[in-house]
Symmetry: C2
Subunit: 319 residues, 2 copies
Amino acid sequence: MADLAQLAGVSKITVSRALGDSPLVNPETRERIQALAREHGYKLNISARNLRLRRSHTVAVIVEMKPSTDRTMFDPYPLVLLGGISQELTAAGYSVLLTTRQGASAAAVQAADGLILLGQGAHQDAVRRFDKLNLPMVVWGAQSASDAHVVVGSDNRLGGAVVARHFIALGRRRPVFIGNPSHPEIFERLNGFIDALAVRGIKPLLMRRDEFTVDSGMDAVRSLHERKVGFDAIFACNDLLAMGAIRATLDLGRSVPADVSVVGYDDMPLGASFLPPLSSVRQDWQEGGMLLARKVLALIEGEPASSECLPVSLIVRST
Amino acid sequence: MADLAQLAGVSKITVSRALGDSPLVNPETRERIQALAREHGYKLNISARNLRLRRSHTVAVIVEMKPSTDRTMFDPYPLVLLGGISQELTAAGYSVLLTTRQGASAAAVQAADGLILLGQGAHQDAVRRFDKLNLPMVVWGAQSASDAHVVVGSDNRLGGAVVARHFIALGRRRPVFIGNPSHPEIFERLNGFIDALAVRGIKPLLMRRDEFTVDSGMDAVRSLHERKVGFDAIFACNDLLAMGAIRATLDLGRSVPADVSVVGYDDMPLGASFLPPLSSVRQDWQEGGMLLARKVLALIEGEPASSECLPVSLIVRST
DNA sequence: GCAGTAAATGTTATCGGTATCAAGATACCG
DNA sequence: CGGTATCTTGATACCGATAACATTTACTGC
């Protein structure tokens, strides 16, 4: 910048102002300097600017990424969140620093202006850990009573309830829940499910399954059959599990949806093409991501931001 | 840091060295200073360090993200690339700055030490654009003759050839290719397919389909049927297309694989659970990501790095 | 006892921008 | 014509770290 100043015959600060489109500089001077900058391929040193402004215009997004078949944030679906976040932050002139839990100690995270945490961890441990950084922070996941921070998530409790009511309307009496309720989100779905069924005095059966795969879903239904447990409705907390459950049910010679109703969760694109087309609870990840981004930005600007729960909708197809 | 220095009764530079575990400071002093730093919650200012060291320890990853049903880098599968990249960079103490094409003008990208470009764009336009930044750059995608930069990609040509040989071994005579060859990678697959078939004097039929979805695959096969075109093998350049193709084929009353062989691409997890279990070409995205990361790191360190082509393997299941 | 060496710490300059305040030039007012 | 407001530009300091070189201290061997 000093060189550029000399070339233009002005001072550094004038160059700085010219490049920043400050109204303080004479339009002619500005044009001249900007032209010179382009011509010489001048590029601003972002680190220097960050230092001076005490702002990095960067938000760190921390994902939980375990190399396992367990439900990870790097699985296809929650990732759309990232798309929403990225879109919104970019529009506001911010950058996204992508980090994993392990890598979050990497220096650059500290330089971020804000933090978005995807998945608060089994026991909020992640939340506590990053709270120490003392940065504006927004968390994606299930809300809990004791939240000191801003949480954005979809209404898992409602998701469970909607499915329960659907089953009730169909006259189902022996519903089964398949999934792993040790994930806070899943736990909420289960609770919503249970509570809404309780209104009619129905108690669902919990089939705990840790893996969110087709095979796991098939296995769950086979296991029900072996144990000679009757059931006429299945709420799988993920579409893959639902697909597996449907397949196993059909294999057992029972009809879906005549004998057994099945509803999945996430409404993944493939679900509509599944045979039979899968009914599922849809949550708008994209919108969730955008909301997360807007909330951090607000916090960064010193404005208040509140937790928020996104609605979900039941997509009824053929199961 | 100045405050910390005063607290410890030493100079700033000693603090800097102590926190950096420099062997130049007395171990006792170091301990004392580090303890003080922890106690007072001191955090290094990364921007200042970046400025001084002229290094950000950050690599920008630029993805192509269009909000469309077209094959985007934000689709589930290529995203595993990001996992590999992230893992490797994190291990090396680097951070990942995630950017989209549009957002790549965002300041922070310039501060990166290196660039990873996922998808070089229809006509290498993206490559040229980011070349101007004059940063160490590595590109994921298909190699072309005129590459001035480092390209890492899986061997799409081999992928096509492997499928062709598979069909030949099965005695197939009328193969069809479904996909959109305007993507460089797909174009390579098609070429490998064509060339390997040519050895036996077989010419495949190209069914151009722009969307990589189940519906699109079904549509392709129906269209073949309507036009009364005979076929006994289908190579779909993506698993979803393959699934759709299989479904439509079965709907037409023909058997898979007795009448028609079908092979997909990507070997997505769901493929194995599909009915019938899908044969597919597998590429190791994770490994690709790690390789990309290692190459940029090498370039950043001033070491040479060469383009590389990852092997693929045909997973034969039941189709 | 003293030169010589190693260990520990300090002084100063610097990375490349921007905020603050000051100042010169020009226009406008009564 | 002095005084004030506006426009444009500049000098200086500063953001918070580290590199290079300087200095002090302790210890060694003869």
